[in-house]
Symmetry: C2
Amino acid sequence: MGTKFKGSKEEIRALDVFIKLIRAADSVASRVESHLGNIELTVSQFGVLEALFHLGPLYQKDLARKILKSTGNITMVVDNLEKRGLVERIRDTEDRRHLSVRLTDKGTRLIRAFFPKHAGRIVREMSVLNASEQEQLGALCKRVGLQIGARASGRTTDRPS
Amino acid sequence: MGTKFKGSKEEIRALDVFIKLIRAADSVASRVESHLGNIELTVSQFGVLEALFHLGPLYQKDLARKILKSTGNITMVVDNLEKRGLVERIRDTEDRRHLSVRLTDKGTRLIRAFFPKHAGRIVREMSVLNASEQEQLGALCKRVGLQIGARASGRTTDRPS
DNA sequence: GCTAAATAGTTAAATCTTAAACTAATGATA
DNA sequence: TATCATTAGTTTAAGATTTAACTATTTAGC
């Protein structure tokens, strides 16, 4: 990237990788997510539907951790999905503090019809790398992401698994 | 990650790399940027100061491309930096549509004093990988980020360089 | 059983962000 | 020069996000 920073070899290398990592993620994500507008979903809304689709009903707390957003934000995201009849909240009878969020039939139909296109986009994005390169990238990302002493990812209490 | 998605080997691999890439970038960025609050700068504000520090005066258009934000957003970011006396706008006499943004002395002192700490954080983040691993990661990120047919990164007309 | 601490979720205020409409300036073309 | 298209930047409206304060509920210790 164009950064004309003068520092040690080590610094230059680290800064260069950092910016490439950030830009790659941003660029891939925005291409993959650019079609969400077609079904009137924000990235967060889609993330919630996707999580519920693959994992089944989840508490809002767990949704927040999954999509890397604050619990305050989840309240609004789920509100908006609920207004459109795509998900419903169910108060847990065991522990009444918990709200379980689950897909309605309408929500299930939407995500089931749409997810394959989404997955296809991701496959296409990643296809510039062959299988072994993809695995290398995944492994390296996992290591820098996990980082010893990693803090809350800026939000809530996310801990990449 | 916990995604219980059932698909082809290829799909599973691509989705897995995708989520690892997004999460790594998010997690590293939020740790590196978490200290910006100490000097009362947002991520975008810091990005502008850093770009001006390393590249010299830039037009707002170029700043937008550099920090991956819309030109509308740059107007506000530069407004806020200008209010604090960290940057100044200079109308280009050749082409009066352009506004050149440059660091004031105060802005230069701030970024000069602060940047080394920032760079240190990045070096520390990346130090879980050795030099050759860092270079591998950088090269792989560059390839997926550039992607053939890459569109606007969601904003304006950014094209990772 | 009470009380204190912890947890899940909501609300409100502040900020950031974008998209789209708009203004101003430039360039191209006749 | 008159007109049309393009470009840089600003403004506005709508929405997303976070933090912190708040409510409701549960758990643990006494």
